[in-house]
Symmetry: C2
Subunit: 767 residues, 2 copies
């Protein structure tokens, strides 16, 4: 191990910086530049090289914090707890309303488009119908793309990976900004209405998180919307909790699945969890469920335009009796395996396409929009063109639904067919995605779709889903995956028809489950979401089985799609488990100098110099004689706190302790973390040249209880500590005496496999 | 704070002991003795003063571990992962089978008893009927009590609190032993059959945990059942994971609720959780669900005796249409408030009764059995006597069930009534608890029960539930709570009948939910369990609402019933959050000496002396010159590892490093943690008197990466670190140089409020 220490390169000087410079740092590593050529480690989709900021879930227990805590009265604590619940309520209400708005808007816009097309079709004006259909799609797509490209590039894509990264402690630039929220809501409506094979589920999760983040910002000084109580939430820890609630509310609103939402937040989104949060998240999703229910009841009277006929997915498979025997189990196992294979292939292809698109999207907003338009045209051609391949099928006699159907939603679309016949492919293609899924999941309609039609639709949706994700519109992954999965599920159901007693509708549901499991690799949450969607608990054992198999099979090949996107975006995500080789490296091995430290009473000039020349966010403070007998680690001071203190200008000519001046002048909340981009910046300080040589006392703003590890602590254990406690900085202290009291600081990036393997390339070989 | 340091009392010498001596320690504290008089901190229910052992979830990364890890081949890692899944499968199968056995046995025994009673009743031999009924109950009760009192006192009670404590890191003596498992299974069958107001749900959770623990023991050398691969699981961390799966499987088997089981393990049982575990737990509960389903199908042909008519609860409320309006919401809110108040009162009374019983039970096995017999008689008198208060009601004309009913289960029991009439109280009292709940939850039977009957039954069940928990039989709390809750739910439903559209059956369900929320204070898991029981997701918003309200109301008054029992049993449970006053105390303040440390190469005599005279489980190892330049902390060595090393007798005459001898002689697995009570004991060593002065090298078995905190770390932060990482020992290192390299060791007990407040009584006053 000693040999390995010599690998440390001295020019690697911003080792513990963890803001802004991530990408420069990563690319300053030769091995990573080499890697870039092969695996293209570029931040993608509209956020060319996105600056990221680590979050700090540790409470800086400095004197100010303690002073404030001591003076905190019972009523304030009560206010704080009450506010948490009020916020949960607001998040639930907000997300529920957005969910309703989204559905009403999509159903009306897409419905109008489909009505127009159908009317022209009925008049046999087929070219005009296509022009109308493709034109509408194009216009909507272009609008969505323009919103994304010009206002908030961060709103493109699903948003779930970014929310996941945020909850892990990585704040990608403007990912939760109000502009992103705006574009996410309207871009999603436009994108889904434009007939893309995209869902509104991922965007809903992102929307929920954005709403939660907005609430946690502590109001807006610009618009005089500050509120004294909000200051309690001005820290990363409380914001994290709010955003967890928001993510859960998003899923709950997207699927009308409150329990599923909580489980999604728990299983997929959150990296930290505690029991109290479970309860609050549950409350939030309950509020969402109640809002949705109220509006659906309101809309059932016909006041919401075309909404009410389709929309707000809830698939009814209760007509099918759930009885299964050995051949069904066999079919389910087969579905699971297919789901795992298709799912991992899907992930692989999505990854490849995303890397390609990221290069295209880097060339500017116009190119982005052009890409969206191209995909939109392709989608329109598929949707309108492919149904012509299908033959017209005579309407079944015993069906309760109208056939052929010229309405917006529903089965048995007439398309070009004469009366008494219907086009089964058109029932899938010329519908909203929600309705197409509903048709695939419809029970007691075994022969509605030809096997060839199902095959065509599956191939089209699978491919369109892959090439659509990554273009500059808000695009969820759930719906494409459910569509394709339900399609091959129904196919398998048709093949097993002679020996199976299960309804093909249930097969479609199990197919959707298998493909979801194969791509997203969630288990419990998907299971509950699907059960809440179908309202049939008797399916539980089958859904569980299929999910377990597809996830297991998928995991053999690659990671889940969200993890893959997080990695692709270059977000430094910390896994729950340390890499095995980290057991053989100690903390000292990845820390490198030069380390910048401050004295307990430091010259203003030195501090300003350090702030200017480095991007570091935390600086160790060391007490030296005469303030202590020997140099000792006093604690850690944060950049943001230093800026506030310097702006306050409590300086002194001599190198002496400042006493209680700082405590009298400031309160804890002056140091609260401002909303993103709102804190004091270095340029805001007006320190004069003559102040450079005078002193400032850092003791009161120093976190006197930073988490430390001894330099010989194995990196694996240090990583577990870092991740479990949600730290941003971890001090490495020397083992032996007679040396400076701190060896270095570990930050998130020091635990990244890229960094560690860059320092010790031979580990990679041994692996 | 300096002033506070002087409080440290020097006679407090076994401060970092954490095995066996817990109770002596606690009672050696004057403040605790004082407290004992007021709050009676005695371990209860058959485990008079139960020794507890802290668990260690930290991996001791010593040289042996590293050597083993380096040599571990891919196939071994694969074996390990595969075994985890095989174990999950076995746990699922085992728990599922026990669940089925339990149900079949209870239904047959209780059914036989009820049939006998009913037959005698039909012949108007009322006194004989009572004698038969009470006699059967008495015999069964005495058998259960004898099992509990003589074979495994730890099997009494619910078991959930102990499992919860185990998963928090506290292993109460023999709580997961094979004898406990045996008594839990048979005692539960006998107890439930005996007509007590107890459930089999808590015992099922305990059973699942016991099965999991048995599997994690690594076979049995005594019976030559060892298996090489099992050694991977010989550590607390893997056992914890297995037991989490077991607890989930228990709930799944008890309620046929696989998702609910997972959530229960997550919300109530487990203190640590990770995503991978979610998946494995889910698999286990899926296996349970499949086993149950298979057997129910098998039993539906009538091969299981009386089982199949009742048993394996699944309440069908689907007949009732779920439509609700404003008055219903009002009723639900009222139910929630009632549930919270009754629930917290229930907890309060259970606590009081348990304290009384613990004093009674301490007097020996005979007294224990007498107590059980007394309660059994009381229960029999209530069950048989109270129905006489009810008037006979004419059978409704339009009912599909047979009326009056002389069968084992079902509504409309005839009891003493003439033909064409039924006794509504008998339908509740003279049934198994499962059937009584089913009757209360039956829909479309609004007027089946008189309001006065419901009131009598509620009072009886509420009181019997309170006085039954704590006697020496395995007794779950779910069923009594559901019974009482469903009863007052139905009552409220009757009162709201004029203005409500909800069925009284649904009211009963909501009542059960409210009372569960009020006593157990779970939310998501209870909600999902209830939904899985009733198979009706449309109830979700109402169940959520009622649970949220009842938990909130209950939390105002006291803690959840399981937390209360954990506290009552004196188990040192670590809460997720540190107490607020711990922010003002630093780690140094609660650590006190004298600390026993070893040198890297230590005299055998010194080690033996330390092992003999203290109960400490971890000893810091300090390297001194000539092995290092200055004294430095080398790491932490565990008692169990020392014993293995001393038994191996790799000693040397001189004070020199032993080289690789230890690594050659031992492998990691020689140091694996043995099953409870199986490890090497101090008496097993045969170190001669002449060996006392020779040396042994501790370096290779020393965990070189112990987690450390600086002495000035706030106790609150240290507690979070300790709890989050699941530690058993935490080293406190000095802040300044020139002092010994370790200040002390913190263990679980040092974080207990009792200990901290004992050292600093004025904090309590300030609170």
């Amino acid at each position: 191990m000693d040999q390995e220490n010599q690998v440390l390169n001295d020019d690697y000087d911003d080792i513990e910086s963890d803001t802004g410079k991530v990408f420069e740092r990563i690319y300053s590593q030769p091995f990573l530049i080499k890697r870039r050529n092969t695996t293209s480690q570029i931040a993608i989709v509209g956020a060319n090289v996105c600056p990221v900021e680590s979050l700090d879930y540790e409470i800086a227990e400095n004197d100010l914090f303690k002073q404030d805590w001591r003076s905190r009265k019972k009523i304030q604590i009560f206010q704080y707890v009450l506010l948490k619940w009020v916020f949960a309520l607001i998040i639930g209400l907000g997300t529920g309303l957005v969910g309703i708005f989204n559905n009403i808007a999509v159903e009306n816009i897409a419905g109008f488009k489909l009505l127009l097309t159908t009317e022209l079709m009925l008049k046999h004006k087929y070219y005009k119908a296509f022009a109308a259909y493709a034109g509408c799609n194009l216009g909507l797509a272009a609008a969505a793309a323009a919103l994304c490209a010009f206002i908030a590039p961060a709103a493109a894509g699903s948003g779930i990976p970014e929310v996941k990264a945020y909850l892990n402690g990585v704040d990608a630039h403007s990912i939760l900004a109000p502009s992103t929220l705006f574009v996410k809501i309207f871009g999603s409506v436009l994108g889904v209405s434009a007939g893309f094979v995209v869902g509104k589920e991922g965007p809903m999760v992102h929307t929920g998180a954005c709403i939660a983040s907005l609430i946690g910002q502590g109001g807006s000084r610009k618009y005089h919307l500050t509120w004294r109580w909000l200051r309690y939430f001005k820290n990363d820890r409380d914001r994290r909790d709010l955003i967890t609630c928001g993510a859960a509310a998003g899923v709950a609103a997207a699927f009308r699945a409150p329990v599923g939402g909580v489980l999604f937040a728990l299983e997929e989104a959150a990296s930290w969890w505690r029991s109290a949060l479970l309860w609050r998240t549950f409350f939030t999703t309950a509020v969402v469920a109640i809002v949705l229910r109220a509006f659906i009841q309101l809309c059932s009277t016909g006041t919401c335009g075309l909404f009410g006929k389709g929309g707000l997915i809830m698939y009814d498979v209760s007509a099918a009796k759930v009885t299964y025997s050995a051949p069904d189990i066999l079919a389910v196992i087969l579905l699971g395996i297919i789901g795992g294979i298709f799912g991992s292939l899907y992930n692989y292809l999505v990854d490849k396409v995303l890397r390609t698109y990221s290069i295209i999207n880097e060339r500017g907003a116009t190119i982005k929009i052009l890409l969206v338009i191209t995909i939109s045209l392709l989608t329109s051609i598929c949707s309108y063109g492919l149904p012509w391949l299908a033959t017209c099928i005579p309407c079944p006699a015993d069906v309760s639904a109208s056939c052929p159907n010229t309405d917006v939603s529903g089965n048995y679309k007439s398309f070009q067919c004469p009366s008494g016949r219907y086009n089964d492919l058109a029932s899938l293609f010329l519908n909203t995605n929600d309705d197409a899924i509903r048709n695939l999941l419809s029970t007691s309609t075994v022969n509605e779709f030809h096997i060839s039609s199902l095959l065509i639709f599956f191939v089209a949706v699978y491919c369109l889903g892959i090439i659509t994700y990554g273009i500059a519109i808000p695009s969820g992954l759930f719906i494409p995956v459910i569509l394709a999965g339900a399609c091959y599920g129904r196919l398998v159901g048709r093949l097993f028809e002679p020996i199976s007693k299960l309804d093909v509708g249930l097969f479609a549901l199990l197919g959707a489950a298998s493909f979801l499991g194969g791509t997203m690799r969630m288990t419990v949450s998907l299971c509950v979401i699907l059960l809440e969607l179908t309202n049939d608990l008797l399916l539980l054992p089958l859904v569980m089985l299929v999910l377990l198999i597809s996830k297991t099979v998928g995991d053999i090949f690659n990671k889940g799609v969200y993890d893959q996107i997080v990695k692709l975006k270059g977000l430094p995500y910390m896994e729950a488990h340390a890499e095995p080789y980290m057991k053989h490296i100690v903390a000292r091995d990845v820390v490198s100098g030069p380390l910048i430290t401050f004295s307990g009473v430091e010259k203003v000039g030195n501090i300003l110099h350090a702030l200017r020349t480095t991007g570091h966010n935390g600086f160790p403070v060391i007490d030296e004689p005469p303030f202590s007998d020997a140099p000792e680690l006093c604690g850690l001071v944060l950049r943001s706190h230093l800026l506030v203190l310097l702006k306050g200008k409590i300086f002194s000519r001599d190198r002496v302790l400042a006493g209680d001046k700082v405590l009298h002048r400031f309160s804890e909340f002056d140091f609260a973390k401002a909303g993103s981009g709102k804190g004091i910046k270095l340029e805001d300080l007006d320190v004069q040249e003559e102040d450079m040589d005078i002193y400032v006392d850092l003791h009161h703003i120093t976190n006197a209880s930073p988490y430390t590890v001894v330099e010989t602590m194995s990196l694996a254990k240090a990583a577990v500590l870092f991740r479990q406690l949600g730290l941003r900085h971890m001090c490495v202290v020397p083992k032996s005496q007679g040396r400076p009291p701190i060896v270095g600081i570990l930050t998130r990036h020091d635990f990244m496999p890229e960094h560690v393997l860059g320092l010790y390339p031979h580990i990679r070989l041994r692996k």
